[in-house]
């Protein structure tokens, strides 16, 4: 059985406790308290962190010493039999994402285009941008990154299912898997590494692919000349080195993303998981602050990376006058493949 590679000494000698001090959902008086609480978690003792963590993933990014505070918190919660969300919701996610042999795999050769287990990703991975890989799409629980179960502190599900997912890809004989879901890439890199799982193919982050393709399609790009706010997903905290790609893509297609309070390291959760884990009051507050901030920055569009964030926030941003759009559709708009109505 795979085990989380957590370096206790690294945590014990941490001079900053950034993992907790930077947290947007818990407050601590300072380093001593935060460090003390984290060490309680490390030692398997009771800590308020275990009951208060909103599961935003951000501490994975805040920790710059190569440890995995969020995975550890989730492991410890499960060890103690704790549920972050209500039990029926937790079990529903486990049931819903069970492998049942109902996957779809296209004409896969060296490369596969992963649509995870999210139907919305299928239509995104089409058109001129994806013309070389669109036919190699794979979809289904058999190819789904199980990272969502970290929200529910069910790391055992990840330990059990992720090796099977990796094996399923291996059986396809692929050399590269282009991950249309941000979380898939985070899972195949960050989580797999943290648990010592070998990945026998190269995971490719879709924004890397998108950026390269948009450079190739440069002649077709008509700058969009719009102002946007970017909704960074929780899973992007697992792969912070990929964050600059968003700005690079925006620049290439003539999109302005004015600086706002809740961006980059300070980004706010879309709120969907918060609603399950912490209730509507926190979720409503976070969503309101986030959308207020987008409007204050002068955004006309809210640009999504994750379909789950898009599902959670689209209606809400629309009601406030912002046009919701996935970054892939934004690129399709820039090359004239989609009209501006794609943002709705």
């Amino acid at each position: 059985m795979y085990k989380l590679k957590f370096k206790e000494k690294v945590c014990a000698t941490c001079p900053s406790s950034d993992c907790l001090l930077k947290c947007q959902y818990m407050t601590f008086s300072g380093h001593p308290e935060a460090h003390g609480e984290m060490m309680k978690v490390v030692k398997g003792k009771d800590s308020r962190v275990l009951s208060e963590c909103a599961t935003c993933y951000a501490c994975e990014e805040y920790c710059t010493r190569g440890n995995h505070p969020f995975y550890l918190i989730s492991e410890k919660r499960e060890e103690k039999g704790m549920f972050t969300a209500p039990r029926p919701i937790t079990n529903q996610w486990i049931n819903m994402t069970q492998m049942q042999g109902k996957y779809m795999a296209g004409d896969v050769k060296d490369k596969a285009l992963s649509c995870c287990f999210i139907p919305d990703l299928g239509p995104l991975g089409t058109g001129e941008i994806f013309k070389d890989v669109a036919s190699a799409g794979v979809f289904g629980a058999e190819f789904m990154c199980p990272a969502v179960h970290t929200h529910f502190a069910r790391m055992s599900v990840i330990r059990e299912r992720l090796p099977v997912v990796i094996e399923n890809y291996r059986k396809l004989g692929v050399k590269e898997v282009i991950c249309l879901h941000d979380e898939c890439y985070g899972t195949l890199t960050s989580i797999a590494e943290a648990y010592g799982m070998e990945v026998p193919f190269k995971p490719v982050y879709y924004m890397d692919y998108l950026y390269e393709r948009m450079k190739e399609l440069k002649d077709k790009i008509k700058p969009l000349n719009i102002t946007v706010a970017y909704q960074r997903p929780c899973s992007n905290r697992l792969i912070p080195d990929k964050l600059p790609l968003v700005k690079k893509i925006f620049k290439l297609i003539g999109v302005k993303a004015p600086k706002r309070l809740y961006q980059d390291e300070n980004a706010l959760c879309c709120g969907e998981i918060l609603r399950s884990v912490s209730g509507y009051k926190l979720a409503d507050d976070v969503q309101k602050r986030n959308i207020d901030d987008m409007l204050k920055a002068g955004a006309e569009y809210c640009v999504f990376n994750c379909p789950a964030c898009q599902s959670s926030l689209s209606e809400k941003v629309s009601k406030r006058g912002l046009k919701p759009v996935h970054i892939i559709d934004l690129c399709k708009m820039a090359i004239g493949e989609k009209g501006r109505e794609a943002a709705s």
């Binding site: 549920f83 969300a85 209500p86 039990r87 029926p88 919701i89 079990n91 529903q92 049931n95 819903m96 069970q98 049942q100 969907e272 609603r275 399950s276 209730g279 509507y280 599902s311 959670s312 209606e315 009601k319």
Partner: protein
């Protein structure tokens, strides 16, 4: 050509009558599991006068008459058990009046739910009626005749409680108006302050007369409809959760459902909550009230709200289409349910019975309960899907449904739209003087026993 056929043609014209085998085949059955039985004639009248003449003819000739809306009860209520005439009411489909200020509509006896819905949407967008989750071709008169329910049943009771007046052709051929339209031109009350004669027809499944016009209450159609979905894995908590929710007096419709497939639904009881408002503020206020009411179950981790974004469109559809989806899980598109009306505190026992029956008869279950009148009772549907091309499976489903009805009666429930065998079970259990009263009414209204014979046969 027989004299009867000639007489029928004289009444409704050649296009309104048929005894062609292929037509009789269709009118001999419904989509449920009961054995078909051929009628002798199918007649489709266009006016009350034509209905009157047909009934007079039938009375004279002692021919059974089975009034039919869209024939979708699933429990064989329009299968002509003793042959005779199936009276297809679908050509009497006019909306006769909408009194917007008094919030009622008067429609002909064959008017479908879909026609009224579309008419109101186009002409009176601030009004709506209590739309059942049956196909839109089902008729309003048939729905009230079997005490149907709809999307506003939690707020306002059975759809039959929403009747504001009736026009009925009695088994003798006399035409009779019930309620305020018997006194004047307005259709605002089916009884008060008169004796409630509507009870002679509502729930009688077409055995005491033919409804040719029906007045129905209309209700405000709010600008925004919203839905939340609460789930728990503890069946014992369902009654108390429903009690707390109904205390809010805010919910338009409440449905509790559970099913083993797809897997995401396995093991949980889902409570779908519909609420409406004219402004976002009103909606948000109601949403918060709902969440706050159930906070204790979230704190104990026993229940929580599902994200409904992906399902919202389907959940807000009226009528819902999920029943059709369920029917096709075992392929072959068959579906039937026993829907006893019962008290909410019995939900756990009924839920256990559904699972027990599904196991015993090796059939696929889905169950959905709809709250009635703010929680005074509920309709608990014990539903099984089947393959129409698998007779053995259909027999197993029938046995399971029979057992479900027996269980409901043991528990003090009342079978909803019971088939003729279930009606007998009800009458066997009924208090003798109540049964005697039924007999007196039926005998006096239908002395020749021509109205939908085989159903509510209390004279035998």
């Amino acid at each position: 050509m027989s004299d009867i056929l000639k007489s029928l043609i004289e009444i409704v014209g050649e296009k309104g009558v048929s005894n062609a085998p292929e037509e009789l085949w269709f009118y001999s059955r419904d989509p449920g599991v009961l054995t078909p039985h051929l009628p002798d004639y199918v007649v489709a009248p266009k006016t009350t006068e034509e209905v009157q003449k047909i009934v007079q003819l039938a009375c004279r000739e002692k021919i059974p008459v089975v009034p039919m809306g869209n024939g979708m009860s699933l429990t064989g209520l329009v299968i002509p058990l003793k042959g005779g005439i199936v009276l297809d009411m679908k050509r009497m489909n006019k909306i006769l009046e909408v009194n917007a200020m008094a919030r009622y509509a008067v429609v002909e006896g064959g008017t479908s739910q879909g026609v009224l819905k579309a008419y109101l949407q186009k002409n009176h967008p601030t009004l709506r009626h209590s739309l059942p989750d049956a196909p839109p071709t089902t008729t309003i008169a048939a729905n009230v005749a079997l005490h149907g329910q709809g999307r506003l049943t939690n707020q306002y009771g059975f759809n039959s409680d929403m009747v504001t007046g009736l026009e009925v052709v009695l088994p003798t051929g006399d035409v009779c108006r019930i309620g305020s339209p018997s006194i004047g031109p307005y259709w605002f009350s089916k009884s008060p302050t008169l004796p409630d004669l509507s009870g002679l027809f509502l729930g009688w499944l077409g055995t005491t007369g033919i409804i040719t016009k029906v007045g129905m209450k209309l209700f405000p159609n709010k600008k925004i409809r919203e839905v939340e979905l609460f789930v728990t894995d503890r069946v014992d908590l369902v009654p108390v959760i429903l009690y707390k929710l109904t205390h809010l007096e805010m919910l338009e419709d409440v449905n509790v459902w559970f099913q083993p497939k797809p897997l995401m639904f396995l093991g949980n009881f889902h409570i779908t909550l519909y609420f409406t408002g004219d402004t976002e503020e009103e909606i948000e206020f109601k949403r918060k009230m709902i969440w706050d009411t159930l906070q204790e179950f979230m704190d104990s981790k026993d229940g929580g709200f599902m994200s409904v974004q992906y399902m919202k469109e389907a959940l807000l559809q009226m009528p819902g289409r999920n029943i059709a989806d369920f029917a096709d899980v075992p392929k072959g598109g068959g579906f039937e349910y026993s829907g006893p009306i019962t008290i909410i505190e019995h939900f756990p026992q009924y839920a256990a019975k559904v699972v027990e029956l599904a196991r015993k008869y090796d059939v696929l279950y889905a169950s959905s309960a709809r709250l009635i009148s703010g929680g005074h009772c509920m309709m608990f549907s014990i539903s099984f899907a089947f393959n129409r091309n698998d007779p053995a499976m259909m027999i197993r489903v029938k046995h399971a449904l029979d057992e479900a009805t027996a269980f409901a009666l043991e528990m003090g429930g009342i079978p909803w739209k019971p088939n003729y065998m279930e009606q007998k079970m009800v009458m066997e259990k009924m208090e003798p003087n109540a049964l005697k009263l039924l007999q007196m009414i039926k005998k006096n209204l239908d002395p020749c026993g021509i109205m939908n014979p085989g159903n509510w046969e209390v004279n035998s």
